[in-house]
């Protein structure tokens, strides 16, 4: 008991040390980034202790340290919930962060502000840990906002570039919209259940949970870039590659899904919310996979791939399989971070070139990166017995055999095959064929700071699925029997995707480039979503407000309604009345008509 608690707190303390050091200006040795990386690795080692204890004995823990305040009847404390989800996620996250920090020692070594970069990464990690281990919604909200702010600081790292600032702001805005949902859920819990503690919420088991769960769904849509609040994730690729690897593939974007997973006792009773999650996830996964097909920036393709996998996680939560979704979070972290790191290696080696149309032929020149990239892509698509297989294949099997929405299932399957397509696209354009980059570049991947993290994550991408899924406590019963064609669905459509993509690429590589069709435009312009939402809506709003202010208010109400209309009316009437032709026959005609009308109406009504 004591070892569990104390090692957990020791982990958190180890993480806090470098931040406090830099704040107090105690650390004066030169290699602060190295120090940070070493501390993160120690924290990883230390966090394995409570994880193994948890796996061996199956006991949860709640550490409730400090009584913060009491608001009327609600008590707020600093409490850490160390259960299934947080115990398994922490080592994974720390392992991935350790690798990424070592990678960024190589990637950012020429940056003058590298100390600050590492401090930001560490602060992000700390807030992520707060989010994951939070036992009450208040602490979770602190972590939630913390990761949002650190994401802003890190996306806008190169703030001299206008696009980076825009992307950072975009991330903040979209996350904020999701925060409204989280706040609504918190308010509902406060009003109806008088608590923010997760244990109390689950034991009270409220019945009409539509509103708070919809709020949580909105929060997940914002933070995890589901359809509707998704444009910030591809734009966030403006940040450095380590940021993309850490935040926008492994840890921050899964926070939304993590929140929904945390609340699984409530979602498993609410069919409406499950259906909403299912449909939203299915739309997200297919839409972002379509958008990934025509991107030319290697980081954007991987970003859309992340978004698609997040949609898949949402689908999994939607079919009431939160543990499978959690497993997918953990396994996805490995290969996605590695894919980003391989992209970073390629980009840096080619002299900061991110366009895949200008890469090629790296198969021979960057062998290790090639290996890692191909392995990561295979793991992503769910190749049997690599990491992704243990989670992704289980998910596809569960969807196929569950009593669910056939349309959502269809979309998910199509998206799975598209995963293979865009992975093939990356491999084909970046690694195969003749080189398309300028020749005077020194390509060298022999730096141990680069290779060791990729090696570690490579081992993880191959073995982590096996290790994790064999060691965790089974919380649900997996589907044991199903017809052969359902069992083979995932691998069949993946193979189909690979084959089609490779054949198309090889067949069309020497053809002339035609002007894009409508489908291509749909995919290239990201489904017209940014165009309409970012340009059209504000334009219409501003136009309407200008019309209201100047035309309706100034010109019409204040000028035209009374003054000008009255004067125009008077002038027109007076000219109409006083212009007479002077012909007496017209006068007599008017007399006759008046006479006749009067006699008719007044005598014989």
């Amino acid at each position: 008991m004591n070892l569990f608690t104390s090692s957990m707190l020791l982990t958190l303390l180890i993480l806090m040390m470098p931040v406090m050091m830099s704040n107090l200006n105690i650390y004066t040795k030169s290699s602060y980034p190295n120090y940070v990386k070493t501390m993160v690795s120690y924290a990883f080692m230390t966090s394995l202790i409570p994880t193994i204890i948890f796996i061996q004995s199956g006991q949860d823990m709640v550490i409730s340290n400090w009584h913060w305040m009491t608001i009327q009847t609600m008590k707020l404390t600093l409490s850490f919930k160390l259960d299934y989800f947080s115990m398994i996620f922490m080592p994974v996250a720390l392992f991935v962060t350790w690798s990424i920090m070592e990678f960024s020692l190589w990637y950012m070594h020429s940056d003058p502000n590298i100390n600050r970069f590492f401090k930001y990464l560490l602060m992000f990690l700390i807030t992520m840990m707060i989010l994951v281990t939070a036992n009450n919604l208040f602490q979770l909200f602190i972590g939630w906002e913390g990761v949002g702010i650190m994401s802003f600081m890190l996306i806008g790292w190169w703030f001299g570039r206008a696009d980076a600032n825009t992307a950072a702001l975009q991330a903040i805005l979209y996350n904020r919209i999701g925060d409204v949902g989280l706040l609504m859920a918190m308010a509902w819990f406060l009003f109806n259940l008088n608590t923010w503690e997760l244990q109390q919420i689950f034991s009270l088991n409220p019945t009409n949970t539509n509103l708070p769960l919809a709020g949580l769904l909105l929060a997940a849509t914002g933070k995890s870039a589901q359809f509707g609040l998704h444009p910030w994730l591809p734009s966030a690729m403006e940040g450095p590659t380590p940021v993309s690897a850490l935040l926008h593939s492994s840890t921050m974007v899964v926070a939304g899904i993590f929140l929904l997973i945390r609340f699984y006792p409530l979602t498993e009773n609410n069919k409406t919310i499950q259906t909403m999650m299912l449909c939203l996830g299915a739309i997200t996964t297919l839409f972002t996979a379509i958008c990934a097909l025509t991107q030319n920036d290697i980081k954007k393709i991987v970003a859309f791939s992340t978004s698609s996998q997040l949609g898949l996680m949402m689908v999994t939560v939607g079919i009431n399989q939160p543990h499978l979704a959690f497993l997918h979070i953990c396994t996805h972290a490995f290969f996605k971070a590695m894919l980003f790191m391989c992209s970073g290696s390629i980009i840096h080696s080619l002299g900061d070139e991110q366009d895949i149309r200008k890469m090629g032929g790296l198969y021979k020149t960057l062998p290790f990166t090639t290996t890692a990239l191909i392995t990561g892509s295979l793991a992503l698509t769910g190749t049997p017995f690599l990491t992704g297989f243990y989670s992704k294949d289980l998910i596809i099997e569960s969807i196929n055999t569950s009593y669910t929405n056939a349309w959502a299932l269809m979309l998910t399957l199509i998206a799975t095959s598209l995963t293979a397509v865009y992975s093939t696209r990356i491999i084909y354009f970046a690694l195969m064929g003749q080189p398309r980059f300028p020749t005077l570049i020194l390509i060298n991947e022999n730096n141990p700071l680069l290779m060791n993290p990729i090696k570690r994550l490579l081992m993880g991408s191959i073995f982590a699925g096996f290790l994790i899924s064999n060691n965790i406590t089974p919380m649900t019963v997996p589907q044991m029997t199903m017809p052969t064609h359902l069992k083979m669905t995932a691998i069949m459509i993946t193979l189909l995707g690979f084959t089609v993509a490779l054949e198309l690429s090889l067949a069309t590589q020497n053809l002339k480039f035609k002007s894009p069709s409508n489908s291509t435009k749909f995919s290239t312009l990201l489904g017209y979503f940014p165009t309409t939402m970012h340009r059209l809506q504000p334009f219409l709003n501003l136009l309407a407000s200008q019309k209201v202010a100047s035309m309706i208010l100034d010109l019409t109400w204040l000028e035209n309604i009374l003054p000008k209309s009255i004067s125009a009316f008077q002038m027109s009437t007076s000219t109409m009345i006083s212009t007479q032709k002077g012909q007496i026959k017209l006068y007599f005609l008017s007399f006759l008509i008046t006479l006749a009308l009067t006699l008719l109406t007044l005598k014989y009504i």
């Binding site: 007076s574 006083s578 007599f588 007399f591 009067t598």
Partner: protein, 347 residues
């Protein structure tokens, strides 16, 4: 014109009106109208030019038609009631036709088309007679048949007249046409009052006659027929600018001048009979009247319009026209309002 002929003609005009006002036999009424009309034609034709001819012709045609309608009404009344007395109430059909005939004679809308044209084509003194004396006879007939007048008809005539009088005068710079539209509007006020209290209609008629006489005599003093020449009054007779200001404002119905008295009385009578919309509309269109009077006063009294440099000092010369009736008329047309408690004698 030969003075003898002029006297005979004027006396015939007066006689005709008196016959209309005092007869108790409908045929005599008609005869009086015809005498009046035939005698006034030479007066309208004082100057021999085609414009005057045209004005006379139009006047003759409309008035003759009106007299014919009057004859028709008398005949209908004879058929229905078998007697010619003016004291007995009229048959409804005859009442309608007679009202229309009187409306044509007075120049109420929609029979107003001849008034501006005839007024424009004749001399100022003829116009004076046309606009003032000629209104007495038809108004007296309307007064006599007022118990049986169809209220819808007369109110329609009155509303149309005030509207036409207001809007028609906005577009004018010729003074005679302005006075013509002013007469149309005032006739509208009178017929509205005729519905509820014929005494107030007569009051309005009297004060209207005084005001119009004053105004036209002031115009005749300088022989001005356009706004432009009226704006030179400061040069010729500076004292007249003040008088014109006061009289025109009184004509527009501004308190505390006497033109306000009839309007006030009429509005009071109307509101006593639970009519709110009608007097509101009439007052609003009276604002239009006031606006074009104000325009005249603006160019005449309130500002000094430029004139040719030859005669800047005409006011120093002795006036030639005799204006013996003008001062009492000016007093009457501006200062009668404090006498309004005397109206209690009418009850």
């Amino acid at each position: 014109m030969n003075p003898f002929a002029l006297i005979i003609i004027m006396l015939t005009v007066v006689l005709g009106t008196l016959i209309v006002m005092t007869s108790s036999h409908w045929l005599m009424v008609w005869i009086g109208f015809e005498m009046n009309m035939l005698a006034i034609i030479p007066i309208l034709m004082k100057k021999y030019n085609p414009r005057s001819m045209e004005a006379c012709t139009k006047y003759f045609l409309t008035q003759a038609t009106a007299s014919m309608l009057l004859m028709l009404a008398i005949t209908i009344n004879l058929v229905h009631s078998g007697q010619w007395s003016t004291m007995k109430p009229l048959d409804p059909t005859a009442s309608i036709v007679m009202t229309l005939a009187m409306a044509m004679k007075l120049g109420l809308a929609p029979f107003h088309f001849w008034v501006p044209e005839v007024a424009q084509g004749i001399q100022l003194s003829s116009g004076l007679i046309l606009l003032t004396w000629q209104k007495l006879a038809p108004m007296s007939i309307l007064y006599q048949i007022s118990p049986t007048i169809n209220s819808t008809l007369i109110l329609t005539l009155s509303i149309l007249s005030v509207a036409v009088g207001g809007w028609g005068g906005l577009n004018q710079t010729q003074l005679r046409k302005i006075m013509a539209y002013s007469s149309i509007a005032h006739m509208g006020w009178m017929t509205a009052a005729m519905m509820f209290s014929p005494m107030m209609a007569l009051l309005n008629l009297v004060i209207y006659i005084i005001l119009t006489t004053t105004t036209l005599m002031m115009f005749m003093m300088n022989s001005t027929t356009t706004t432009l020449s009226l704006s030179h009054t400061w040069n010729k007779t500076p004292l007249l600018t003040t008088a014109i200001l006061a009289t025109l404002l009184s004509l527009g119905g501004l308190p505390p001048l006497s033109g306000f008295l009839p309007k006030w009385m009429i509005i009071q009578e109307l509101t006593k009979n639970d009519n709110i919309i009608l007097p509101t509309f009439m007052v609003i269109t009276a604002l239009l009247n006031l606006f074009f009077y104000m325009r005249l006063t603006y160019s005449t009294s309130l500002t000094t319009f430029p004139s040719t440099n030859n005669m800047k000092l005409k006011w120093q010369l002795n006036p030639t026209k005799t204006t013996i009736y003008l001062p009492p008329l000016i007093i009457l047309s501006t200062l009668i309002l404090p006498l309004s408690p005397m109206l209690i004698l009418l009850e």
